[in-house]
């Protein structure tokens, strides 16, 4: 286990450096360079020169990269040009909503997708199985933005049950926390439906195929031959093994989850990273957009590490290697 973790960490270091290097290159390639936005067309050439000097524009490439990395390590990604605040502060303001949406949807997806996937695999070729297959096929084929708009059209425009946009009702700003919590939940219903069902669809597919693979294994037959009840065979012996590849896939699906959350935010105009990224790109606010990229890449890297740890706990063959 120790060696396994150390090995995984060692593999992560170059990946992390690579990510940062690519982002740094993008920043350099951005029109006007990293300081481009600070420059005023009215400035004289000398002033520009001075500014570039001040921001270390003229240093050699590797020095610039190292100082950028050193800043990044301290959490300093520069200032967001439009917010007049450090990038980190801006991200802090918005990342909570994105995570709320992503995590709630992930949980919804897991709690719907995994059990249905199991039942579908154990009742192969039954009506339940066909229903599941069709549902998950639709779920992975329906574009999130179209699904979101359909929900908006039906449940917010035609039937005014849910708000059309935002995460809070401004009129309730001063209300009790419980009222505000309910209000937030109310705002989240449609977005979580979109993202949660998309996630559920892919977990159903994973779980079903993983279970079908495991159910055929000899040890499942052994478990049945011992006289265990079907439920114990399926949920203890089979699922415990089917879980292992699902955990791996969980790690791989984090970038997809994040992208889905960003898309969903945009459709429902939720104040999150997705919304500010799109804005930032529109305003050519490169320090902010690259800060967001770096932040989300690190989140992905960390969740991959967590998935690895879970994987190792689930699989004794790795734990004791």
């Amino acid at each position: 286990m120790r060696t396994y973790i150390i090995r995984r960490l060692a593999q992560m270091v170059p990946v992390f450096l690579g990510i940062m290097l690519i982002l740094f290159l993008l920043l350099q390639l951005a029109p006007g360079g990293p300081t481009g936005m600070l420059m005023d067309p009215r400035m004289s050439a000398e002033q520009k020169q001075e500014l570039a000097e001040k921001y270390g524009e003229n240093k050699p490439f590797y020095e610039k990269f190292i100082s950028w990395m050193a800043d990044a390590a301290k959490g300093n990604f520069g200032n967001s040009i439009t917010h007049k605040k450090p990038v980190v502060e801006v991200i802090k303001d918005f990342i909570g909503n994105t995570f709320l949406l992503a995590i709630v949807s992930l949980l919804v997806g897991l709690f719907i997708g995994v059990p249905i996937g199991i039942v579908s695999a154990t009742k192969q070729y039954s009506a339940v199985d066909y229903g599941t297959t069709i549902f998950s096929l639709i779920g992975v084929s329906l574009p999130a933005f179209f699904f979101g708009l359909l929900l908006l059209k039906i449940f917010a425009v035609e039937l005014p049950w849910f708000p059309i946009f935002g995460l809070t009702n401004p009129l309730l700003r001063k209300a009790d926390w419980i009222v505000r919590a309910i209000d937030k939940a109310h705002h989240l219903v449609l977005p979580v439906t979109v993202l949660g069902l998309t996630q559920a669809a892919s977990f159903m597919r994973y779980t079903r195929s993983s279970m079908l693979e495991v159910i055929r294994q000899d040890y499942v037959r052994t478990a049945r031959a011992k006289g265990l009840r079907d439920k114990v065979v399926i949920y203890k012996h089979a699922f415990r093994n089917a879980m292992i590849p699902i955990i791996t896939l969980l790690g791989f699906s984090i970038p997809g989850l994040i992208s889905g959350a960003l898309m969903t935010e945009t459709i429902f105009s939720l104040p999150g990273l997705g919304k500010i990224s799109v804005e930032a790109v529109g305003q050519r606010n490169y320090p902010l957009i690259l800060g967001i990229n770096a932040m989300l890449s690190i989140v992905t890297l960390l969740s991959a590490l967590i998935a690895d740890l879970l994987y190792a706990t689930a699989d004794p063959r790795i734990r004791y290697d």
Binding site: D218, A225, K226, G227
Partner: protein, 331 residues
Amino acid sequence: MKEKPILEVKNLKTYFYSDSGTVKAADDVSFEVYPEETLGIVGESGCGKSITCMSIMQLIETPPGKYEGGEIIFDGIDIMKASKKQIMEIRGNKISMIFQEPMTSLNPVFRVADQIAEAIMIHQKISKKEAREEAVLMLGKVGIPNPERVAKDYPFSLSGGMRQRVMIAMALACKPKILIADEPTTALDVTIQAQVLQLMNDLKKDYKTSVIFITHDLGVIAEMSDRVMVMYAGKVVELADVEELFTEPMHPYTIGLMKSKPDMKTTGDRLTVIQGNVPNLNQLPTGCAFHPRCPYAMDICREKAPDLRDLSSSRKIACWKEFQEEGMKNE
């Protein structure tokens, strides 16, 4: 006749249905198992040995399989008609099974002792702790050195021979009346094979268990069994006491098997030396399924399948060669 059989299989039919046709994996199979005896089952790969035994345990996946008829009488009940609850009480408790592949037959994510204890716990209604102690005891009985330590191991850290010992411990933990061993040593090295066979013989005597022993290996059959059943293409073709069968094989297929075995003492040979191929079970030849390969084949063999008939009190055979002579005598 001997004492009362503890297991009677009568006209068992287990078929598989697939796109490419129907496979009659066990077709009208009948035999008995007597207390404390070892019944060996031999036959080429794919002749339905495993399916017959899995049917006794009701372990066939349905679909694609289907039990198309027959009775399996054990302890006064017909397993084919038994309730789920009755079957759960029999499985792993009164009849247990060891499989061919020790490497994959144990669940990789649970500790060895827990896997054994699980069976003890449900059948003997004792606490987890007691069941674990019992499991460690069983590990000692199957000759595993340092059982306390191995009990905490996961299967991946054990060798094939050790895993098969664990399987045996698991199968015998509830002192079953019948132990079905489906090629338990085929996947093991020759030396390990001998040790495991020895162990099974010893334990069988200790536990007074009847054994159904499936193998490809006539040497092993000769060593292990009291009676032998020969199967071909889903059917029983000959059933006899072990000495009788080896001194005077009667069914042409059995004769072929004996011939293909160069030396009684060599083990590990696969029985594929008879001329011709094992037929595809979904397109069997008409009449006696063995006729394309049989040196004694007659006209009737191509038209009508012979049924399994008593030749003497201890011997049954399904072959026109024998009945034809009998028939001629009667005329």
